[in-house]
């Protein structure tokens, strides 16, 4: 068979690609959290009747987030190529892939954060106000800690989605497991690589979900 590999080479490829995927998902996860969390908080508190009502800003942010979410990721991936070049200097490799992956995940995660905060009982916010708490106290002592289990569940969901996004980034040469599947499984019809990739992706998603669930359960247990 053309392009057949021995087991050692297969492992080597798989190991390398898994590391790249983990790197992309990890970095994109951090950036998504760093930008998406404040964005989600802002979406929540700036609502009409919210803690810091800013209806115009809220409408603007809401629109931007919705536009981001309505583009299929594969379109975003390609549309963002010039932007990626501007930021990273190249459009190939894992570092370049982190840009569209992050930008694709932020709007999604921001909405998750917003709805997690919405679940916090309004009376607890009111109690903090009655105690003389500032807006910052409400966010830092009420909203985020009280919503933590829901936020963790949302982060788990987002990480699983990031694994999917990072695989799609293989289409534009982003590296990682998706890249491997395209170059070996699709372009060279190498079935062992294809199967190994699929198994590895499933294993990654399972691991993330399991750790996430466990953390959520541990937190929810004492409340």
């Amino acid at each position: 068979m053309r392009g057949s590999l021995n087991l050692d080479e297969l492992w080597q490829l798989l190991f390398q690609a898994t590391l790249e995927t983990l790197y992309m998902v990890g970095m994109a996860g951090l950036f998504t959290l760093a930008i998406g969390l404040p964005l989600g908080v802002l979406l929540f508190i700036s609502r009409r009747g919210g803690i810091v009502p800013l209806p115009r800003l809220n409408a603007l942010l809401g629109t931007v987030v919705n536009v981001g979410r309505s583009l299929p990721f594969i379109v975003l991936l390609i549309a963002l190529i010039p932007f990626t070049r501007l930021i990273v200097g190249t459009t190939l490799g894992s570092n370049a892939a982190i840009v569209p992956i992050t930008l694709g995940a932020i709007p999604f995660f921001a909405r998750i954060v917003e709805s997690a905060l919405d679940e916090v009982a309004k009376g607890r916010i009111e109690a903090m106000l009655a105690m003389g708490g500032s807006d910052w106290h409400i966010v830092s002592k009420v909203l985020l800690p009280e919503a933590l289990p829901a936020l963790l569940a949302g982060i788990t969901l987002t990480l699983v989605m990031l694994i999917g996004f990072s695989s799609m980034a293989g289409v534009i040469g982003g590296g990682g497991l998706g890249d491997l599947a395209i170059r070996y499984g699709y372009q060279r019809f190498n079935q062992p690589v294809m199967i190994a990739t699929v198994v590895m992706l499933i294993a990654l998603v399972q691991a993330v979900q399991m750790i996430g669930d466990r953390l959520v359960r541990r937190l929810a247990h004492r409340r």
């Binding site: 607890r124 009111e126 109690a127 106000l129 009655a130 105690m131 003389g132 800690p145 004492r222 409340r223």
Partner: protein, 263 residues
């Protein structure tokens, strides 16, 4: 002293005012019960006392200081001077009991050793010293309300606002929470304003009372005065109600004449 002057509140879209020119004086050291049915405007009224609700018109004077004119920062400081407890307790479930009580102290910027000392005092006061490390979800309703009271008192306020504080509790627990409130009132000279739909609450510990109906304050004043007014509705609500008891008996087939015989 708390003084409400012609306080009105309109909600957008509401056809009648939630509060209609309410004027009220709460003297220092009083336990003031504001009685009314659901929808009478009680919640709005008590929220006007710390501006969780802002009146559409009128003045809210606390110690002769109109709090509706305060800057946001000054208002937050003012709020630290009045504690509030709630029907559903509103404890933070991400914190244990001790950390819940510490919240007002954190807001006030009290350092950790002092916070811990004060929390210990407060938990002893409300009889929950052994629950410092427990989570709110592990406590009964009465215990949660005691934590709420400890939290409300943490920053040593002059006023305590009680929003249907005993409505979610059973009769025995209500009695013990009311007793605690009375003890606090005596011990610290804390002024307590409580809204309730339970006449028993007024009966048990209040020395002043007011009746709110459809946003209007129908009666208000010291119970010692109200109870002397024969036409007072609060008086007749507080005292034995022969008419309703006769109806109750009639509903079960016992007529007035029989009642006398039985009695």
């Amino acid at each position: 002293m708390i003084r409400l002057e012609q306080v009105s509140k309109f909600y957008a879209g509401g056809h009648s005012p939630a509060l209609d020119k309410v004027s009220l004086i709460v003297p220092d050291g009083a336990i003031y019960g504001i009685l009314g049915r659901s929808g009478a405007g009680k919640s709005t009224l008590i929220r006007c006392l710390n501006l969780l609700e802002r009146p559409t018109s009128g003045r809210v004077l606390i110690d002769d200081n109109d709090i509706t004119t305060l800057t946001p920062r000054a208002l937050r400081q003012q709020r630290q001077r009045s504690g509030m407890i709630f029907q559903h307790f509103n404890l933070l479930h991400s914190r244990n009991v001790a950390a819940n009580v510490a919240v007002p102290l954190e807001i006030a910027g009290v350092n950790r050793p002092q916070r811990e000392r004060r929390v210990r005092e407060l938990l002893a006061l409300v009889g929950l010293s052994d629950k410092a490390a427990a989570w709110p979800s592990q406590l009964s309703g009465g215990q949660q309300q005691r934590v709420g009271i400890a939290r409300a008192l943490a920053a040593q306020p002059d006023y305590l606002l009680c929003d249907e504080a005993t409505s979610a509790l059973d009769a025995a627990t209500t009695a013990s929470v009311l007793e605690l409130l009375q003890q606090i009132n005596r011990q610290f000279g804390l002024t307590i304003v409580m809204i309730t739909h339970q006449i028993e609450v007024v009966k048990a510990i209040c020395d002043h009372a007011a009746l709110l109906e459809s946003g209007r304050l129908l009666e208000s004043g010291p119970l010692s005065t109200l109870l002397r007014q024969p036409d007072s509705r609060l008086r007749s609500a507080l005292l034995h109600d022969p008419l309703s008891e006769r109806r109750f008996l009639q509903r079960h087939g016992i007529e007035g004449g029989t009642l006398c015989a039985v009695a």
